[in-house]
Every structure is written in C-alpha cells, then in structure tokens.
C-alpha cells in the first residue's frame, strides 16, 4: 500500500489524472500545499472514487482560507496525521 502526495491544484494541473491512473485499490492520497484546493467542491468531485482514503493537510487548508470548506468525505489530517500516514503505508510517492 502506497501513500501518494499531491501538491498541485486541479485548477492549474492535469496531474490528478495521472495520479488516479497510477493509484492501486488500497493506496491513499494526501493533498498538501496547493493540492488542498482539490479538497473543496466542486474540484473535489475529481477524487470521489477515493472516498475513505483521500486526505487533506489541515494546516495547508487553513493557510489558504479553506478550513472547513473541504468536501465532507475528505479526511483532514494535521502534521502528526501526515506522519502517521507515512508510517502506516510502505512507501510514499510525491507527484508534482
């Protein structure tokens, strides 16, 4: 099981298509930095197939004025949660 990190907004990059294609059925996705724009509707629709395994970094949501605006099925995590995700998965893949 892999953890994928995405730091690009879906509004500025089509990388999300590559990420979704590359992800295995158990893999998890964490949106960080400008990637958290993808956590907010309507952009979040692009990740709906990942319900239950799609996360967004809370402090990056907050620093962009997006706290509490993420889709209700996207799981917010703090930095400690980010570390925990890397510990729970075997490897981390960064997309940029």
């Amino acid at each position: 099981m892999l953890l994928h990190l995405l730091n690009r907004s879906p509004a500025s990059s089509r990388l999300i298509q590559d990420v979704l294609r590359a992800m295995g059925p158990e893999d998890r996705l964490l949106l960080i930095e400008s990637g958290v724009y993808g956590a907010v509707p309507p952009q979040s629709a692009g990740f709906e197939t990942l319900k239950g395994r799609c996360y967004a970094l809370q402090e990056d949501l907050t620093s962009r004025g997006l706290a509490e605006r993420q889709a209700d099925w996207i799981i917010p995590v703090d930095m400690a949660g980010f570390v925990a995700l890397t510990a729970e998965t075997q490897r981390t893949v960064s997309w940029y």
């Binding site: 980010f82 570390v83 890397t86 510990a87």
Partner: protein, 137 residues
Amino acid sequence: MASEQGKLRYALVVLGGPYSQAATHSALRFGEALIAQGHRLETVFFYHDGVYNASRLAAPPQDEPHLVDAWVRLANDQGTELLVCVAAALRRGLLDEREAQRHGKPAFSVEPPFVLAGIGQLVEAGITHDRLVTFAP
C-alpha cells in the same frame, strides 16, 4: 527494519528552494512532527533548487523564519545528516571550502553540518532508511 517497535528511521528529500516554494516549510514541519512522535530524522538530501537551503550566506529578514538555521538546529539536536547534491550545488554557486579552492573561487558558501554528497548517497538513503519522503516544488 525499525530500530525500536514502531519507531522508524526517516530520510527526506527537498527539491524546492527556500522562500520561493512551500517544499522547505513542509519538509521542516514534517520533520518536527515525526521527531515529536519518537521517530528518527536521520537524513535530509537537498537536490535541484533545494540545494539553496545550504547557503551559509542566507540572511533573511529577522521577522521571517530562518530556514537554513532551522536545518542546522536539526543537525545539532537530532544528529540529522544534511546532504547536498554536489552536482546541483556547484552549478548554483554553492561550494564548500574545498570545492571553492579546487575551482579557484574567492569564497565558499556551504559549511558543516551541510555536506556535499553524491547522488549515490540518495540511493543509499532510500535503501537504508525505513521511509523516504520527497518534498517537491
């Protein structure tokens, strides 16, 4: 293998330059968080524009975080190895004393605890650490 039950040895790769991309901030915050959880941050490898993190001449305004000093503190407090890709560094004017002499330059811009290293050491870090996390521009 983890050294203690559940405690992991981490290596981070920083590809983004300080003060221009979020990568350095993210890597530092992540590093602090993993240490707080009892894991070990053993190695940070600076590559591409990430090598600018190693400039001993960085002089940011006093009311802004001093990112270079933050790495140095990590090295001093945690024994974290700070490896700087030598090929990426030389291209960008980041030379330690030895390289500056070798290339006939009037000054050097990299000093310990930052150490110029080959790409082989990044490969080795990927093999010898439990986790390797890349922070990209």
